[in-house]
Symmetry: D2
Subunit: 344 residues, 4 copies
């Protein structure tokens, strides 16, 4: 297989390279850029010396259409126009931006404050939540790879909503992310001296992942709800932990909650239900494609606390994208992704 990466110089792109480099079926990785044509990749990112010494290529439809898979790891608002010319062409397309996720164009415009992609393209796209949409992903030409927060949230709460064990009408989701989620462009908000030793809340009630989560709850659990969702910046580089709160249906037990999660994911290698008593932090999954989940019933309030942890750059971005490529290409889902979590 020959694959291409548009936007290879971002963190999503670097992670795609990290995993694809050791993917058994990937023979060639071509790197595309809008602005740095000809630059030797390992001169720009010298940690990749002897690993990726080839030059960046100009984004060019001719070069792209001969590839088997094209990953777009460019910003929302930019990606859709780059991929549109390839839509009816040869390569499978996997977009890591938010451009093809929301089926409702007005919603995209409202939350992203950008012009949406054309309706036809949106309709063609398949939401790439690997463990919930495998059949459609396998047949998809264009995959909208899920956002980092939605991945951690949805994998942990969807089974409980779908099986009607929790009440989705007052769902509070409090999410925390490492700083790499903000990308590689320097800003005051990611300036070391002001980010380090500082835990902050941002985009209060305004994060663009809100409609994505609500849409997926409707899509996979058939429930319309409005969530409370807030995002926080943790002074670390990688990792997302999302804590969700919901009332449980009358009579539901802790055992039912846990078994619901276990049943759903028994055959899915990358989602692990955490054993009671284990420590639950982002280092469980660091550098790997796992999503680890947990639920605990608070009998005092009859509410459940539901936790999901991922590496935002892997299961929350590049890893899930490659998992989706594997599904599209009829390869084992784990191919190239069997990296053991770093833990420390």
């Amino acid at each position: 297989m020959k694959v291409g990466i548009i936007g290879a110089t971002g963190y999503g792109g670097l992670e795609l390279i990290r995993f694809l480099h050791n993917h058994q079926e990937v023979e060639k990785i071509e790197l595309f850029t809008s602005s740095e044509e000809g630059a030797i990749f390992s001169e720009k990112f010298s940690h990749l010396a002897r690993i990726v010494d080839r030059p960046l290529q100009k984004i060019d439809d001719e070069a792209l259409k001969n590839l088997d898979v094209v990953f777009a790891s460019t910003p929302s608002g930019v990606t859709s126009s780059l991929l549109l010319p390839l839509l009816q062409k040869g390569p499978k397309l996997i977009d890591l931006s938010g451009d093809f996720r929301l089926k409702n164009l007005a919603s995209y415009e409202q939350w992203y404050k950008k012009t949406p992609a054309p309706q036809e393209a949106i309709e063609q796209s398949v939401y790439g939540l690997s463990e919930w949409n495998e059949q459609q992903i396998a047949e998809a030409h264009l995959i909208a790879n899920p956002g980092c927060y939605p991945t951690a949230v949805l994998l942990s709460i969807l089974p409980l909503i779908k099986e009607n064990l929790i009440d989705p009408s007052f769902l509070v989701i409090d999410a925390k992310s490492g700083v790499s989620g903000a990308g590689n462009k320097p800003s005051q908000a990611t300036h070391f001296s002001e980010t380090n030793e500082n835990f902050s809340i941002y985009k209060i009630n305004e994060h663009q992942h809100i409609p994505e989560i609500e849409q997926a709850i409707a899509m996979f659990a058939n429930v319309e709800t409005k969530i409370s969702f807030n995002t926080h910046l943790v002074p670390m580089t990688r990792g997302i932990l999302a804590t969700s709160y919901a009332a449980v249906r009358s009579g539901v037990t802790q055992q039912q909650l846990i078994e619901c999660l276990q049943a759903k994911y028994a055959k899915h290698p990358f989602v692990r239900v955490i054993e009671e008593g284990s420590s639950i932090g982002t280092n469980r999954v660091k550098g790997s494609n796992y999503c680890d989940i947990y639920v605990q019933l608070d009998e005092r309030t009859n509410r459940a606390t539901i936790v999901g942890v991922i590496d935002n750059l892997v299961k929350g971005a590049a890893g899930q994208a490659i998992q989706n490529m594997n599904i599209q290409m009829n390869l084992p889902q784990t191919m190239g992704l069997q990296t053991v979590p770093l833990f420390i």
Copy 2:
């Protein structure tokens, strides 16, 4: 004034020293220990060379009872027995542990898994939430200094509950703390390599600050409720940020919410209502006695997001204790506490 600190070698004790050293009315600080009698303090903590070169004293009722104020910064379960002999004696007592906070002895036993202090002592104690209990603190002999999480949570949510602007029946409080809250004793959970670059949730639905928050809501806002409350460990040393979620009463506006907070704290120097558009993180208050709060109405869900940030070791422990001492001693509340936040 002569003050004493029992448990001076913990982080709470060190912060008491840091502020009391520059307190205009404190002439002498005596340091007491159960185990290291005679040790020169600055040999143990060499960052205090030339600042605190006196020896630690044995805990001795005779020595203690001649002081004006005694701070206890020893662990819950230990403190009550140390302070009981001093209860009817001269010094004002300020306890930073949880031993005198809960009025309900059974509740203490349930959440702390320890033997409670005697009923009479508990009854005498006054809950030291400075901005809500000033009158009683001024007259108190024994002050139960609030926990770190309750301080951040209560200061931010109490005005809104008391003024009936939010519905306390489904109150979700998601709190995050720096690692210094765990004290100075090494453990696997605070071992650098496993704490660094790791955001984790702990004591799910079991934190002993739950009954303290519920009791204070009843005490100051006259509302009985059961909260959902979870705590997370942030890979940083200082700071707490608590995010609370509640439905707002019908028709309540953003302006009403903000004005409610502003009205309550207009004359309280250490609680600041954050201006819209400001960044909201723990570095706003680092090293200082401020509690900064914010509320935002999500019109989409008609729920409010309420945020409180403190330095857990200052407003969440030693700083509030000194503020309470100032109130007891009829000094300006800000004396010795006018430290400007470090920010970076």
Copy 3:
């Protein structure tokens, strides 16, 4: 006293405010800016709400010349032109940049790659290494406040060179700094995700503090030497630790080395000689104006290891500047600077 700060929005400026706010003799602090005239300071830096709510003023010679002291905390190359018009006027001037430090104009041009200040201004300036130049500082009109690295290095090695206990002919100085030394302007090199969990060396053999250190060794110890000096970036915000290596003169003992340091600084409150067996890290001095120093003779090689630690923003910038102001104004050196180190 009325003081002014030019460049108040940088980290040096913020630290000047932090200490001057609690300085007993400072009645008014005026803040000057080249670009943000009229902005309310606490709206820009909301951690200073209720503390510094006044507006930034335009840099204006008339306003400045009526002040008692003016601190310049603007970048090298900019500062000299801002201060020149004030040189013969009323206020004492304390410059935190490198513009007036090097007496040799060609050297400035070579290392800073900028146009030097005029010779007359350079000649007037006094190098503000407080513990080594007190007499001249007391009489100075214009003080060139030392660089952060030179402060940590010089305070630790100068006594040993001056007393001829070590051989300065092969002096290796390996220095490490927190990221705040790079200032508040975002860049790839200070972008959290690339700075965190990354220890790096930078400006190899090219740091502009090299000629400053060599000049001061000549000035205070009367020795001409060329040092090896390298700088490293530590993933933390505050603190410098400098490790120096030199052969000791024949027959010199550990006791002589330590006593040399102790003798020099016995009467200087801010330089502490660390006791053997103490841990030696930047947290000893965090947030404070101390410089802690240590020396250890390696009998195996007959070389000494010399260590100096400071908070780069305090003793390495704003703190030493205020110490110098105190000296100029005939106030106790410690006024406003008695902050206890945070330690954690």
Copy 4:
């Protein structure tokens, strides 16, 4: 191949598992413990759920002697006695402790303050600096895997000493390490609140890696010298950067220095000579088996600054151990080790 790990629960053991799990020729990994026999590994380290779910076995010579390779990742002083019974038996032995590194028993005793292994065992052992001792490693039965600091130092300075480009008589080596080098056992020195935001120097002139480096300089470059060597703790988890200083021989140029390094390592996949202008930090190699090196001539002083960076847990421990296993087993050196550096 069947391999065993004694001391699997330490950080070295966890890294061995991380790489061996994806090693194409390793069919089975058995885990041995002295104290936790029967414990399911993934219950103790739940980040390894679904990856290493087998139980820990008792250390048992019978079980061990049927393996192909046994890694010992136990503390110095313990390891030698565990491996001695296996010395003449089937498995190849690779020891990650310091027990078999020093050929001089008195030196071991002096620096480690422990009883050395028997002379015969020491004589049998081969020092496993992969790029410098390949022939002997290939034939070795017992490999003494190098220390983390020596690996970073030796790979960067040995070529220059061997080719007589630098003068080894006054060699200053200033090394810095992340905290994981201290292992997984909690202590005050690795307690998060006191390690975070703190850069410190430790074991001044007393680190046990000093004789190891000197011995290797003698062994591979045929030069007897006494080095100055100090170690510092960086508030990060992984990574070592070592900065070395030496006078260069008269007339030697920057080009000669760089070419010397390039020539030595041209055919060694894991040692990369950094291009001029690249940033040089530990994130270049994070999580990978690379050692990146650099040299820069300071023409002003005619001394060279030599830098080596590694991931202390990989090239400085488990990675080099597996590289050595590959050499012993006549496999490609890179097998199982082609992990791309994480960078962030």
